[in-house]
Symmetry: C2
Subunit: 426 residues, 2 copies
């Protein structure tokens, strides 16, 4: 394990640009059908000519976020292994690696296979990995590529046993003991269990103990003082666990960090260690940020907790007003198939009419159906949208945005000139 | 407009079976990579060898539902235009047409383009359709294929104006006046508006008024007596609207009917009419039914309101237990990226261990994260799952199940022998 950035197969990523656009991509105008994605991007189509609804990525905002997070982690001596589950977009992984990312993080075997199809050379699978079919595939993948570095998590002796039984590889699997939060998700709840799991790993010929991993977000759903204290207390337990265990490599990976509390994670991972540690942050949503949950909670969001340029939301949906059936109510042609709804509903931001784009205030998206959004006037406000207008929406939760789109246009600074496309694989 | 079933391009559907399986399909075992979907189905792989999580379709249950709904609608003199948004699976559209479906229903231009790529000859777009890019495409499609029959909805004079301005086709667009529910979604709220919209349609050279459409589900979220009364009252308004308007065709389409209240819709659509009417039901979820929302509310569900064999749930997810970090808590490797969560959470049904499959009771999925499910013991119950076991889950809401999977295996009666694959396009 070294600190140099991971590599990927740039030629494979470039080949995505050779894919022909057609009816498989729900927002692409038919005037671009038959062109490759790369050719279509070079035509600089206008986003307003796309079929609604459409979710577009703001290219300059993404570049800003890439540079911001790369600088922020480098300044603090942290390695970044961005969680690729957010976008599942090899072209975006490539940009993250261009900016020095140390690895790409995965959650499932399915995601890992996508990464490997694009030659990602270092992957942190931030999850237990006990699937026999997945482990057989992984064993072959590790044995066929000596340059492939992989780690996953273990939180039980039973897990160690299952991995050991299933393992068919020559190279052992590098694993981290996962530390969890009481009442939270996966991960050991106490030091005795951590020690037992570590001992089982060390005894297993199939596994090699290379560090400790965790995820702090289950400790708190908000950035209140009590919430931040709970996150810090959890991170202390991660540190205690690292100090309590013996590892099978000289340099030890210690990783935590979603996109909500990476400030506290940075402090915990970079405080002095008694052994050589590679401190790895795994934020995924910083790349696009958002106009909802992460805007509220991110250390580089609307309520910054660290210095640095704030992240910018790079997600924008456009949906047409198709009905104004009652005073104060409009229906937009975009719903749960197109927009995220699990961490807050879309937020009206802009209005596009025949005469241009203006800010839109005084209304709220109150519900989504499968294919419709309900836009209601706020108390005391009129609803300044008409049938045929288009509403620009801010979104909350990048992960559940990307997974609704197999192809997303990327726009220039003006928010309307499409400069390229990003392909996802969910 | 005639009552014969719609057609589709079966050769195009069959070509889906020639697609090679690879890393793009998250649950497919790598042992099937390189085979076509058809070849892989002929190998009869075992579902337990798939990479987790996986959602499988129960083939015999789907065939039962197809036959049940075809018979039920035929018995009542109803035409069925199943909503294709549910599955977006051309191979399933083909089965629905094989069973006599009159049309396939769509909600968006993007869906319509998929249907047309597979030659679906008759489409009801059960929504307003004002998107200029979509309308330009539709105009060309209608003009290039005289056999293509299409209708969409209009609920405002402004909508008529926008369609008329945008229309570039030689053939006019057949439209229905949409009747809505006060406080509900799209659709006119009163008869005066219906008359005004109808007059505008009749005056437009681009549009032809061919009927009345609506969707009764916004009238009630449940099948309580009061809820059923509200649905019936809405359907009366649909009937009143039909009688109040003059149409531009001799035979008039009247359509309503999601999957929750098709009993009441059948009554309303088949009561005597003063003019020749094609009564069209648009249920989509009947094809797979479910173990949650539709099981509760369907007229052919757990609490049947009509006679006939009950629909069977054809959706089954399997997810592995990856952690048992605390008493009474297990974490499954499946989350919001894989399973629906908008109309109820997944329901534990089965437990698969090394020794076989048994019923699983006494526990509940209490939350989903992006890639994890929380399985908790019910009060007073132990949690009979261990790390490494697999949990079979019933699902709620077919629409938001399908859209998380680009390829779903279909199983035989035993629930484990995979007999084929269904490709979706979202």
């Amino acid at each position: 394990m070294i600190a140099s950035p991971a590599r990927l197969d740039q030629a494979a990523v470039d080949r995505l640009g050779e894919e022909r656009l057609d009816w498989r991509f729900k927002s692409v105008p038919d005037t671009l059908f038959g062109l490759t994605a790369a050719e279509a991007g070079r035509r600089r189509p206008d986003l307003s000519d796309f079929v609604g609804p459409v979710v577009a990525l703001d290219g300059p905002a993404m570049e800003h976020n890439l540079a911001t997070m790369a600088a922020w982690t480098a300044d603090r001596g942290l390695l970044l292994a961005p969680h690729g589950k957010t976008t599942m977009a090899p072209a975006l992984f490539a940009r993250q690696l261009d900016h020095g990312a140390w690895a790409i993080t995965a959650a499932t075997a399915g995601q890992l296979r996508v990464y490997r199809a694009f030659g990602v050379s270092r992957v942190v699978l931030a999850n237990e990995f006990l699937d026999p079919a997945g482990l057989r595939w992984l064993a072959a993948e590790l044995d066929s590529d000596p340059g492939f570095e992989f780690t996953c998590w273990v939180d039980s002796v039973r897990g160690v046993e299952l991995m050991t039984e299933a393992w068919t590889g020559v190279r052992p699997v590098d694993v981290l003991v996962e530390v969890g939060v009481a009442g939270g998700r996966t991960g050991v709840r106490d030091l005795d269990t951590a020690r037992a799991v570590a001992a089982a790993i060390t005894a297993s010929p199939a596994l090699r103990l290379v560090g400790v991993g965790g995820y702090e977000a289950p400790a708190s759903g908000d950035a209140s003082p009590a919430g931040l204290d709970a996150v810090a207390a959890y991170l202390d337990r991660v540190r205690t666990t690292v100090r309590a265990l013996s590892f099978e490599t000289e340099q030890v990976i210690v990783t935590a960090g979603g996109s909500a509390f990476f400030d506290l994670v940075a402090d915990a991972l970079t405080a002095p260690w008694p052994i050589p540690v590679l401190p790895v942050l795994r934020c995924g949503t910083y790349l696009t940020h958002d106009d909802g949950f992460y805007r509220e909670i991110s250390p580089l969001g609307e309520h910054p907790r660290v210095s640095g340029p704030p992240l910018r939301s790079a997600l924008r949906a456009w949906a047409q007003v198709v009905s104004r059936p009652e005073p104060g109510l409009a229906l937009l042609a975009a719903g749960k198939r197109d927009l995220p709804y699990d961490l807050g509903l879309p937020v009206p931001r802009l209005l596009r009419t025949a005469t241009g784009v203006t800010p839109l205030t005084g209304c709220t998206v109150t519900a989504l159906n499968d294919q419709h959004a309900f836009l209601k006037a706020d108390a005391g406000a009129g609803l300044a949208v008409e049938v045929g207008d288009w509403v620009g929406l801010g979104l909350s939760h990048p992960c559940t945005t990307f997974d609704k789109w197999s192809l997303l246009p990327v726009t220039a600074d003006d928010g309307r000139t499409v400069t390229g496309f990003v392909r996802t694989f969910f």
